[in-house]
Symmetry: C2
Subunit: 651 residues, 2 copies
């Protein structure tokens, strides 16, 4: 059965003349052990909620997964797709892509992401189990990780957190083949991985990864552990290839006809390319049949559990019917009370309503809880061995936080949100990009969103980060200007099931200008006229977040100089892009435009146009109280006036 995987991997890579045969050939036995004896999946129902999760963290070995899914009979993985490996539109993409291919639990390829996302899934399993019990939630998360996954920094964050939280249902099979792309791993590492994992609180088992029964015994033992388990599988990369096995040349290129010929001989595989004999297919079909039976038994339990509606609503991620009503009522109140608070504080206030209104949300912070203001009353912390809470102390691990949130979202049952400073999106970039690529409903609460952060200085002050995030496809970047826009941003983020959101929030207090209640979510337009000109529109001031206040102040100064200005608040460029051209033109107007944002200019020319002016940052920030920094960097109402009077005649 393992040789069938090897043969299919060799054949597909050879046909594509592109890909990675080495890992599938090395890990074929271990994968066969896992799937034939343990994996609980029903290929006919890839989204069955209580299935085991299998994560190919070493995503370059995608043919291992595709070969398995082919033999298991996933509907989209016919033999033709194996022959179209890495071709345009094929489900057999170069690296496994969630949403593109059935049975791919998460997109992998960037190393270490799969492992860390799996931590999120294993955590989600325990958290769902705490809510719905053993009858409905009782599955494992299995990972195949390579040397690369374990060298990446994110792996430290992942195993540290998993060990701490005692995620005993997480079982990682490490493809310990001693080879990386540059050559022997001895070129660059001397780490004793088992000792490292033990130091992080893991159970560790070492086996011959080419020995089916040894791997079976190891997995059985791992399932009995009260801690997550690393199974160190000693393997040979490209096992079977006569001259390339055990060498880096087997890693990432087709083996070539002669080498494949030799491998077939060595493995005793006599079948033509892409052909697998019926008796082997039948053996793999048994795995699927076992899974189908388990799924049917589970469905029977669900039907009689009395929790069906709740369970399905959680898995669907449905917000309660009265959710928007509650939020709208709070929006009305915010408008009436017009609090002068930082948008991070407004976010906390809104989260109080959100977390009360829905039980799906799971909060957290990378050790900045009291700065990000992500913890609301009554959430309760998730702690080792007790997973009923709704708040995660991610530790100083921004990257793992993002990847774990991806895992929570992918597992289904939760809407994760997590906080750090906007500047530290740098640390989380790898996983944030995957939130976007996979289209997951993950909410990033990024506070301290400009030089308004103040004294901590340039290392902590984002400048380029709004542009970075806006440039990334499929992320909604919200930079609300007041408490009402903050509420609207949360409302949109929580409703947006196919797109992650970033909320860029201020440290400093801001007045509420949206005092008149609007039933419509104006932030949903991306940009809108926040202040109409008194008579005619001489100039349009564009601003986001904390700089909307500056634009408002500039309006008064300009009025004194005979200039009539409109203010356009632009909390979400991505949503504004989606409006009709007519709407956009009406909002932007035909008058000259001046934009103000305490960030890099890149991207703003699209909105200010050829004649426009930009008031913002041109370099890194500095360490000083926030107000002084705004003056120092000349991001002030006076600077907006000067820029305007550059464009037109002021009195």
């Amino acid at each position: 059965m393992a040789n069938a995987l090897r043969a299919l991997a060799m054949d597909a890579v050879e046909k594509a003349q592109s890909g990675h045969p080495g890992m599938p050939m090395g890990m074929a036995d271990a994968a066969t052990a896992l799937f034939t004896r343990f994996m609980k999946i029903d290929p006919g129902r890839p989204d069955w909620a209580d299935r085991d999760r299998f994560i190919l963290s070493a995503g370059h070995g995608s043919m291992l997964l595709y070969a398995i899914n082919h033999l298991l009979g996933y509907a989209d993985m016919g033999g033709g797709e194996l022959k179209r490996f890495r071709q345009l539109g094929a489900v057999t993409a170069g690296h496994p892509e969630h949403g593109h291919t059935l049975g791919v639990e998460t997109t992998t390829g960037p190393l270490g992401q799969g492992l860390t996302t799996a931590v999120g899934m294993a955590l989600a399993e325990r958290m769902m189990n705490a809510r719905f019990g053993d009858e409905l939630v009782d599955h494992y998360t299995y990972v195949i990780a390579g040397d690369g996954c374990l060298m990446e920094g994110i792996s430290h964050e992942a195993i540290d957190l998993a060990g701490h939280l005692k995620l005993a249902r997480l079982i990682v099979l490490w493809d310990d083949n001693g080879i990386s792309i540059d050559g022997s791993t001895a070129l660059s590492t001397s780490t004793d991985q088992p000792a490292r994992f033990r130091a992080a609180g893991w159970n560790v088992i070492a086996v011959d990864g080419l020995a089916y029964h040894a791997v079976v015994d190891a997995i059985a033992e791992a399932r009995r552990s009260d801690r997550p388990t690393l199974i160190a599988c000693r393997t040979t990369i490209g096992y079977g290839a006569p001259t390339k096995a055990g060498r880096e040349s087997a890693h990432g290129a087709p083996l070539g006809a002669a080498e494949i010929e030799g491998a077939r001989e060595k493995l005793g595989w006599t079948h033509p390319p892409f052909e697998v004999p019926d008796e082997l297919r039948a053996a793999w079909a048994e795995v699927a049949a076992r899974g189908r039976a388990a799924r049917e038994a589970w469905e029977a339990r669900l039907s009689t559990s009395g929790r069906r509606a709740d369970f399905e609503a959680a898995v669907e991620g449905d917000l309660p019917a009265d959710f928007d009503e509650k939020l709208d009522a709070y929006k009305r109140m915010l408008g009436e009370e017009a609090p002068k608070v930082a948008t991070r504080k407004a976010s906390e206030m809104v989260l109080g309503v959100v977390n009360e209104a829905s039980e799906l949300t799971v909060g957290g912070s990378a050790d900045l809880t009291h700065s990000n203001l992500t913890l609301t009353r009554g959430l309760g912390s998730v702690v080792p061995g007790a997973y009923g809470g709704r708040y995660l102390h991610y530790g100083i691990r921004e990257h793992a936080m993002a990847a774990v949130m991806n895992g929570l979202a992918l597992h289904r049952g939760f809407i994760p949100y997590g906080g750090t400073f906007l500047v530290f999106s740098d640390y989380a970039r790898g996983a944030m990009r995957l939130s976007a690529l996979m289209g997951q409903r993950v909410v990033y609460v990024m506070t301290h969103d400009s030089i308004g952060l103040g004294e901590d200085g340039p290392t902590h002050q984002p400048v380029e980060h709004l542009a970075m995030l806006r440039a990334t496809p499929n992320i909604n970047v919200f930079r609300p200007a007041d408490a009402v826009e903050t509420l609207e941003a949360w409302q949109l983020a929580l409703h947006c099931e196919g797109t992650p959101s970033v909320l860029a929030l201020s440290r400093q207090n801001l007045p509420t200008f949206r005092t008149a209640y609007s039933e419509e979510n104006l932030t949903g337009y991306g940009a809108y006229v926040a202040l109409k000109p008194r008579r005619r529109r001489d100039v349009t001031l564009l601003a986001t977040g904390s700089e909307v206040e500056i634009a408002f102040k500039a309006v008064d100064l300009l009025a004194a100089r005979g200039v009539d200005a409109a203010v356009v608040s632009m909390p979400c460029w991505e949503l504004f892009e989606k409006q009709s051209e007519a709407y956009r033109r009406a909002v932007l107007g035909t008058a000259p435009r001046v934009a103000v944002e305490a960030a890099a200019r890149l991207g703003w020319d699209r909105w200010i146009g050829d004649r426009g002016r930009f008031v913002g940052m041109t370099g890194f920030g500095a360490s000083a109280p926030a107000g002084e920094l705004y003056a120092h960097f000349n991001i002030t109402p006076e600077a907006v006036v000067d820029a305007t009077c550059d464009l037109l005649t002021c009195a």
Copy 2:
């Protein structure tokens, strides 16, 4: 002496009403042990090449360093500056900033960066030692790291690499105080740090960090080890504060008058705020005197070594006098031979000349050597215990690679360059930003710079990364279009001492269009007219990198339709921004403009203007052969023609 540090830290934070007193108060004894007994520095000559390096990786504890530097008599750190802690323009910035304050070896604050940059410095010390011997290069690198540093993923990459390379002169004092911002570290970690470091090949010593003599003994022992050493210093955060010591409330906020009063009492510190008695000042001055003597002895050795000129040229980072001549000769040859090669290949060819012409360059790759093409003949690998080589196998550790390169550059003696795929700049962002903020000459060789990467698919295909890097202050982002521009980009990057560079290079082959030799470095203009229109300029096609070829092909198609087009190659936006407005206007022209780049649009509106069109990516890529992807995403000469004919009348 330690209490003087505690008092100054308390007082400065209190006066600023902002900052972090907890760490300085906890680590004051350990720091005193290090400085009084071991540190070899001459405050009068902060740039002495053979000084010990001290890195405050836990950068929020900046007052510890400022208090020490004040007492050691650094010229810029008078008492007035302590009173202006965290104020605009003060050298006492919120976090230590290299280049802003004397005696700050690297900018810290983003956690884990200092530790990893220190690995680069300790490596540089050994590499310089291999070149110049024990007489001239014989120093240690000391780090104070906090729990946060050790939780960040980058710390894994750092300790793994340092342990592997046996960097015995790296000594890390871990402030093991059991407290992070959210509260006890037990909220989020259970890792056995000593076991973890031992697994990575480190020597580990555990001591009472509040016991001066114990720390002295530990450092002495560490200096005798043949491996890097972690000294786990058990401390109490905010030691001395009567109610806040040992609690998170001591971490990042002023203690308050009452608490300070209590601390003074408990510590027996009777002096007014900011005052330190003369006898203590005298004791600290002895440290400085010892350092001055050591420096003078070293200078005597340098004078008689016969290596003075070489050594100083290396430390200054001077390229040889004939460097440009050799590069220019090669440029002439490239123009004549007009190779059709990928720009990553052109980069390798140019590096062959560069690495031959200067010994300052140190190459490397995050395990993609044969993809990034960063290794040229004869460089030789740096391996554990033998540091004479010039090539580093960074392993699958993009983030550490970037931070270690920062350390190599900051230490001086080397010009580091390192490779990975452009998309994995995501993993290195934290350290790349610090390259820019510190203005270090670090060259990032980022290959596979678009969907042209092909089959590996969207996880490996950058889309937003050019925009991200262009938005970042003080980075030159080069995207050369052919072999000649690649050479010019390297030439600029190596000459640019205050700015890091990114070279975004193609996987796919590209023709050389710069066949006519130009003495001037045209890439140095940032953008220039690569193809003049035949008669009049009907349209200007703007392009970078691999898309310049597409623009050239579009010119022919447009000519057939009666449209006369100019092509502007824009290899470096940042340098183009620096040209005169007249130059920029002349290059961009007054005709309508169409830009083509296989990347996100963000930022292009600045160049195409209100009437312009953009041909590029609107979402993530896909897995398929490169040529098919360009067609699929409609980034083709025909698409450029269509966009042009949208703007003006085509036949």
